[in-house]
Symmetry: C2
Subunit: 181 residues, 2 copies
């Protein structure tokens, strides 16, 4: 699919069809993560592919009962291997690295007609235990993946005027959150 | 361009041609950021488009003399407006939100034949001062943008076997950083 169409089509999906993700599509999604850039090209990540139904139910419970985690045929857990590193600007690099890699996967999934949903609302300790992740590492995002049963339609977003300024910062003081997404 | 080609072609560019970025292409790049997802759809970001040559030189100095910041015709500074928010998994959401939006821009730029480079190595206070960013906000990434003078060729990345595991975490203990990127 054309890149601009992928960007327009990607949306958060919380309602999945009950059919598996073909192996070749899963591989394309993971390959997109593999090619993602990271700070100093460290690639400080692991992606755990969870298909086991019981494990997905446990993950859903650890995420406050978000049922789409159990219903999606695949959940990818993105794990940061170097969660302590700060860039010189004072910002931790691991959420950016993982954010880029997961964004690549979410877009690659949309390119293949699949839906995803970014999930950061879960109990870190419980998810680590379910997936056997050592405490030195951090689970950053759970990404359910599957064929969407339904879509949302147009995105609710701020306008370019509200988010872009030129040469210097300009605060339009409009921090209203658009309804829905 | 096809999505998979964009993912393959995007690379870090540090050598830019001395010609401006057409307004319509800059707008497409910013539009890709506008459509990016964010935690609870808060869109907690501002993107400062810097074209002023003196400002770009100042930014380059604040980033340890990275000359491509001054040489690129455009630098986009991505600013987090809510840098304090932690997700329930203990991970700050702002670097993920900004990471996704900047990834959309870097990919949209590649789609249009432009090059970018993620820069997180800079003095936060100095950059805030140069761009007039209030101290409550945080500059997360500087993204030089322009026509690339030269490319790197094939990416140096770990293999899928090294970064993917199934059902539970598996540490292959291979944290070797491939040379180059």
């Amino acid at each position: 699919m054309e890149f601009t169409e992928v960007i327009r089509k990607r949306e958060s999906v919380r309602d999945f069809e009950d059919r598996p993700v073909p192996e070749n599509i899963l591989k394309m999604v993971l390959e997109a993560a593999r090619l993602a850039p990271s700070a100093s090209n460290r690639q400080p990540w692991k992606f755990i592919v969870v298909r086991d139904a019981l494990k997905r139910q446990e993950l859903a419970r650890s995420a406050g009962g978000q049922h789409h985690i159990a219903e999606a045929p695949v959940v990818i857990a993105a794990v940061a291997l170097m969660p302590e590193y700060l860039m010189s600007n004072g910002v931790p690099s691991y959420p950016i690295d993982i954010g880029i890699a997961v964004d690549h996967m979410a877009l690659a999934a949309a390119d293949q007609g699949l839906g995803t949903c970014w999930i950061g609302t879960f109990d870190q300790q419980e998810v680590r235990k379910i997936l056997g992740v050592p405490s030195a590492y951090r689970v950053v995002i759970l990404l359910p993946l599957g064929f969407p049963r339904s879509g949302h339609g147009p995105k609710s977003r701020k306008s370019l005027n509200q988010i872009v300024c030129y040469e210097t910062f300009k605060d339009d003081l409009d921090l209203t959150i658009p309804s829905g997404f």
